[in-house]
Amino acid sequence: MATVQVSEAEKVYILHGVRDDLRVDGRGCEDYRHMDIETDVVSNTDGSAKVSLGYSDVLVGVKAEVGKPRPALPDQGYLEFFVDCSANATPEFEGRGGEELGLELSNTLYKVFSNKQSVDLHSLCISPGEHCWVLYVDVLLLQCDGNLFDAISIAIKAALFNTRIPKVHLSEDEEGGKEIELSDDPYDCVRLNVENVPCIVTLCKIGHRHVVDATLQEKACSVASLLIATTHRGTVTCVRKFGGGSLDPESIFEMIETGKRVGKALHTPLMELLKEEESLGKKRQKVGFLG
């Protein structure tokens, strides 16, 4: 992770600010920084989205490919996550420097999505035991300014909303061999139901309180953070503690409560925004990477 140095006095200033519910940039403890969300930014993907949260920038591309279902779950497709920490974001990621963080992020994403509710995996099945759709979700970090988990989860939700999987038709010839036919019409697509895709809220414990969407400076003041992934209904799909410190059980329960509340509240504006963007259709002003 891109790290910043913070002096003791600066830490004290941040700590007292969090206590007074006024953070360095004027936010309260449960406020997010400004978020810019744009979908359909990369043409070679089946779905893509770019999210910038403060100065954190995340690009997600989803590619759908036909693969073989896992033997244990023959009637389901699956998702594959890969997070690449580009050296563009910080020179620390150069070479294998970003590998550890990338692995941590992608492993967590697997956990967040390891339930039956998030994405309807049965709908990704083409023919049981033989073919299914594999969704490769590739995350690229373009800029790091803290709170990557939340930005990534929002970008993934937006990208999955934007994903269009080509319709396929299964035909059987006389000998019983199966053939997959791709629809001729490029607009003949299936879309995913992303309603239940969870959003991640990372809470950083600073002093006796916790804050959402911590900047790098704030993160340097905290010894432990808790990640909570929630759906729009408030179902928690993943919880994980990060960082070298430990937490009081009571404060964990408090943080789970906050995380659930904040996470739940993230979904509505996000879905509204995505729908609004879609309704604009061709009139939408494309900004891409120049924003």
Binding site: A9, E10, D25, R27, E30, H34, I37, L273, V287
Partner: protein, 296 residues
């Protein structure tokens, strides 16, 4: 809980005031006249004076330089800088000051408690970490520039020294205007050090007691909420101004602060804030009185 999500919008460009007469990119031939001397940012190729950086051409008599508009800090003697200690070495501290090389702060160039004439003993050398340790922020003045471009700093004045509670804002060094003084106690209730190196330190205006310990005592008392609000607002103003490439000095900061008062502190979190109107106003006031601003 507030989450502000929106579709990205293309940033509107505020029309630039003033025109740059001579902008060049690397490889541009500036002149073929051999009568000129080559300065920084140029090279001579085949008797043609060519630019090696993108920037503005400056001519002083026969000397031609190209001044890059975005660059790391090139310090000059007398510059006020804000820096962060990166390393404690024998008789010196290494300081990160946004310049090409780490700057040096010699033990002999700091004021130690006990007056200026105090001799530096071996004990002082051992307790260097007690004064300044890795990660600490200091304000200092450039004392000397070494041949390789590294800066030597000093804090031999009571106004320099270790910085206490406050916020560091980092902007491009070329946005900080050179002035008589870079320490301002703004009338809005906070103080600012506009470092020439683009590091800007915002802090609550200190009381009278502070200067006893020679600048090496930091108060860990909580800062008042009202002061905090002012400082946070100033921080956001500075970032907004920097994002729109407005020269930073006390007047421009103050005007921006005043015109932002109609908005909530939170709203100014982003650079998207109605900066434009604020900006134009700022430019109207600040841009006019070029140079001669009296410190409040």
């Amino acid at each position: 809980m507030a989450a502000d999500m929106r579709l990205p919008t293309r940033r509107e460009e505020v029309p630039l005031q003033g025109t740059f007469a001579n902008l060049v990119v690397p490889g541009d031939v500036i002149t073929t006249d051999t009568g000129f001397m080559r300065g920084h940012g140029t090279y001579v190729d085949d008797e043609k004076l060519t630019a090696s950086v993108a920037g503005e051409v400056e001519r002083v008599n026969k000397l031609i330089c190209v001044r890059p508009l975005k660059t790391r800090f090139n310090g000059e003697v007398g510059d006020v800088v804000v820096g962060r200690i990166t390393e404690v070495q024998q008789k010196r501290w290494k300081v990160e000051t946004n310049s090409r090389l780490d700057s040096v702060l010699l033990l002999s160039a700091v004021n130690l408690p006990g007056g200026e004439l105090r001799r530096r003993s071996a004990e002082d050398e051992l307790s260097m970490r007690d004064y300044l340790q890795e990660g600490d922020l200091i304000s200092a003045e450039v004392q000397n520039v070494f041949t390789d471009g590294a800066l030597s700093l000093h804090t031999r004045s009571l106004k320099y020294g270790k910085l206490g509670q406050g916020i560091l804002v980092q902007v491009s060094p070329s946005l900080v205007k050179r002035q008589k003084t870079h320490f301002h106690n703004l009338p809005c209730g906070a103080s600012v050090i506009l470092g020439n190196n683009g590091y800007i330190w915002l802090y609550p205006t200190p009381g009278q007691l502070d200067e006893e310990a020679g600048g090496y005592y930091t108060s860990m008392e909580p800062v008042q909420l009202a002061d905090r609000e002012v400082i946070s607002r100033l921080r956001n103003c500075l970032l907004a101004l920097a994002a729109h490439k407005v020269l930073l000095f006390d007047t421009s900061v103050l005007y921006c602060y005043e015109s932002s008062l109609s908005h909530q502190v939170q709203a100014s979190v982003t650079c998207h804030l109605p900066v434009n109107e604020v900006l134009i106003e700022t430019r109207g006031h600040g841009g006019g009185c070029d140079g001669d601003t009296t410190p409040p």
